[in-house]
């Protein structure tokens, strides 16, 4: 019996080009240098997302990134899946992410003007080695607080993430992000932001 279905990138019709590197072994100890590097990377990235430095963010993504957030569905225990077949909120490659980011620079992306106030709360970071010493799998929990406009209620998105970090020319870059959102119905007017 399982109550947790990890996101399967193979269910994406678009992610076929992405890395399929998987974790190996148990979590790395918290004082392992690899964990410390991965954790630091995520914390720095979190601030980047809060500050909406999206062009910088694009710079820490590999060219083959798959940024994937399938639609969660409520299913009976044992049905074998909990995401909608063939459907996602985000199913992005670098080009489509770059278009989303380019839009914010146009001065006509009304939904983020005035911009949201964002706070990504990052936690439960754990790191796994892979068979490749230049790739690490990192899990984390994310609670996003988003305040829109002066009178509207703030919105939240809670999600778990599984990232693949890859070392390229001595820098760690994000090569894959699977976002497991915790609600079937998002209580947010859109996802013009990134998790």
């Amino acid at each position: 019996m399982t109550t947790y279905y990890p996101i399967d990138g193979g269910r994406s019709q678009l992610g076929g080009y992405a890395s399929t590197t998987v974790r190996a072994g148990a979590t790395l100890p918290f004082d392992d240098a690899r964990h410390l590097q991965a954790h630091r990377w995520l914390v720095d990235e979190t601030y980047m997302l809060d500050e909406q430095r999206y062009t910088d963010w694009l710079g820490v993504l590999t060219d083959d990134i798959h940024y994937y957030m399938p639609v969660k569905v409520t299913t009976a225990l044992g049905s074998g899946y909990d995401t909608a077949p063939g459907m996602a909120h985000f199913d992005e490659n670098k080009y489509s992410l770059s278009r989303r980011i380019a839009r914010f620079a146009t001065e006509h992306a009304w939904t983020e003007d005035p911009p949201s106030r964002l706070r990504h709360h990052l936690g439960n970071v754990r790191t796994f080695a892979t068979e490749n010493e230049d790739e690490l799998v990192v899990d984390s929990a994310m609670l996003l607080f988003r305040s829109r406009g002066d009178v509207r209620e703030a919105a939240f998105v809670s999600a778990g993430r599984e990232d693949l970090l890859r070392r390229v020319d001595g820098r760690w870059l994000l090569a894959r992000r699977h976002i497991a959102v915790d609600e079937s119905v998002l209580r947010m007017q859109n996802l013009a932001i990134f998790l």
Binding site: A76, R99, T106, M188, Q189
Partner: protein, 485 residues
């Protein structure tokens, strides 16, 4: 309750009292008089392709299990146990031969029939005491389908869906019948917006005027070649039956040229030629109009558009989406948005079309994000007392005496049914809200209660039941026509 006749009169004159977009009393009227009568979309057959497949969908506060039963028939059943009212199915989708109530264990087949009632003999004295044979979960009062789109109505005397759609069916085919194979519908993405449900329906029905302003950014980033003001202005708005929409004007060319221009591969174009009527082909091929957004009264909308989705190609790729503006309250709406594609389309087309959809519409769509920003803001403002003094001018396209700024297109200019006007106008928004007034002005339906398994006769406490309820038959005693495969 307040007398709303002045509000309705103003709406009929194309002057929209702003408070209707955030008014608790109006919302109660909508619940009792509109959503209890109109046809409501619940699922597409492709979402439940196999025997036992089901999805759970709502009509406002009422939950329904929409399932394909063991004989392959599609059914919609009220998701409430006949015994003490527990929600029978708490998953959102899946496959099941039966549903078992978690409270006391009554179980139901996927056509709604009771198949298990623990201690039937000991607890009720068997069939004599409680006639369970043939009893079913309460079926949706009416169920009907068009091109595999399954609708239900809470009105047992609802007109047929075909009559309800009327001439709009002609346009609905462009979105939902591109080949004999029919549709594949995926999703829905679901999210909640703090906006009144009517705004989305109006916007998709006819608001070509907002495109150049609201959607400037997507043109600037190279995603679209069309929504430049000129192109949009040359399109038309049409209204027919219970729905209406907008079109783009295409460069001159044949049907094939036009379909290629928006990115359809030849094999799909060939199938469309076999599927659509000569008039349907003529609207595109001879008149040069291509459908884009549309709405079916009251709360379904459709989109057809063709962005550029690949980095190293200038080709555009069309996508289709169907969405439902599901009211939660006077100022909150759950949006359900499906990706729609022709089942017979090549896999590569399906993948790119899905990509196009994700980039433009839905919870993350770059088009939709800016739309919703406007609607949420409008809804907020409509709650205040000043909004009660303001009548929004929705008379675009019409002179002060009611005559049109641009005459309707003649039959040689536009082969589609209904009335179509080139250029900017709020004809369709007015049509939609006039329908809305028609419904809100009618007294609510009397509803008959159903008592299950008991022996209540006559009209008891609002219950009308002329014969012992629960005739012992083996087939479901539903008053619904199941939708056959």
């Amino acid at each position: 309750m307040t007398d709303h006749s002045a509000t309705f009169e103003a709406v009929r004159a194309g002057m929209i009292p702003a408070h209707i977009y955030n008014d608790k009393e109006i919302f109660e009227l909508e619940k009792g008089r509109l959503f209890s009568r109109s046809w409501q979309f619940v699922a597409h057959e492709s979402e439940i392709p196999d025997v036992g497949d089901y999805v759970v969908r709502r009509v406002l506060d009422d939950s329904f299990i929409v399932s394909r039963d063991s004989k392959g028939e599609v059914r919609a059943m009220f998701n409430m146990c006949l015994h003490r009212g527990m929600q029978v199915c708490r998953a959102e989708m899946g496959n099941a031969s039966h549903f078992r109530c978690p409270y006391h264990g009554w179980s139901y087949r996927n056509d709604g029939r009771i198949i298990g009632l623990p201690f039937h003999q000991e607890a009720y004295g068997g069939e004599e005491g409680f006639a369970k044979k043939g009893q079913t979960l309460l079926p949706a009062p009416s169920i009907d389908s068009y091109n595999g789109l399954i609708f239900i109505s809470l009105d047992p005397n609802a007109e047929s869906l075909k009559d309800y759609l009327g001439d709009f069916a002609f346009y609905l085919d462009y979105y939902t019948k591109q080949s004999k194979g029919g549709l594949e519908m995926r999703g829905p993405q679901r999210w909640r917006i703090k906006a009144n449900w009517k705004i989305g329906a109006e916007n998709f029905a006819g608001d070509m005027y907002h495109t150049p302003q609201t959607h400037t950014s997507v043109v600037e980033i190279g995603l679209f070649r069309e929504p430049k003001a000129e192109k949009r202005k040359d399109g038309n708005t049409y209204w027919a039956g219970n729905g209406g929409g907008t079109t783009y004007k295409l460069p001159p060319g044949s049907f094939e040229d036009s379909m290629r221009y928006v990115g359809y591969p030849d094999e799909m174009i060939e199938r469309m030629k076999e599927t659509w009527s000569p008039e349907q082909l003529k609207v595109i091929g001879e008149n040069g109009f291509m459908v884009s957004a549309a709405s079916i009264f009251p709360n379904i909308s459709l989109v057809h558009n063709w962005p550029k989705v690949e980095e190293h190609s200038d080709e555009v790729l069309p996508f289709l989406t169907l969405r439902q503006w599901q009211p939660i309250s006077e100022n909150e709406t759950e949006v359900l948005s499906w990706f729609v594609v022709d089942k017979d389309a090549p896999e590569e087309f399906k993948a790119l079309s899905y990509k196009a959809y994700l980039m433009c519409f839905g919870s993350t769509g770059m088009f939709e994000q800016d739309d919703v920003e406007n609607w949420v803001s409008l809804t907020n403002t409509a709650a205040g007392s000043m909004a009660r003094r303001l009548h929004l001018n929705s008379r675009m396209g019409m002179k002060i005496d009611g005559s049109p700024v641009v005459p309707a297109l003649g039959p040689d200019e536009f082969a589609g049914p209904g009335e179509a006007h080139v250029g900017y106008g709020e004809y369709n928004q007015r049509h939609l809200l006039e329908r809305w007034v028609d419904y809100l002005e009618r007294e609510p339906n009397e509803v008959d209660a159903v008592s299950i398994g008991g022996l209540v006769r006559g009209n008891v406490g609002g219950t009308t039941c002329d014969s012992p309820c629960g005739d012992a038959t083996t087939e479901p005693t539903s008053n619904q026509e199941a939708v056959s495969r």
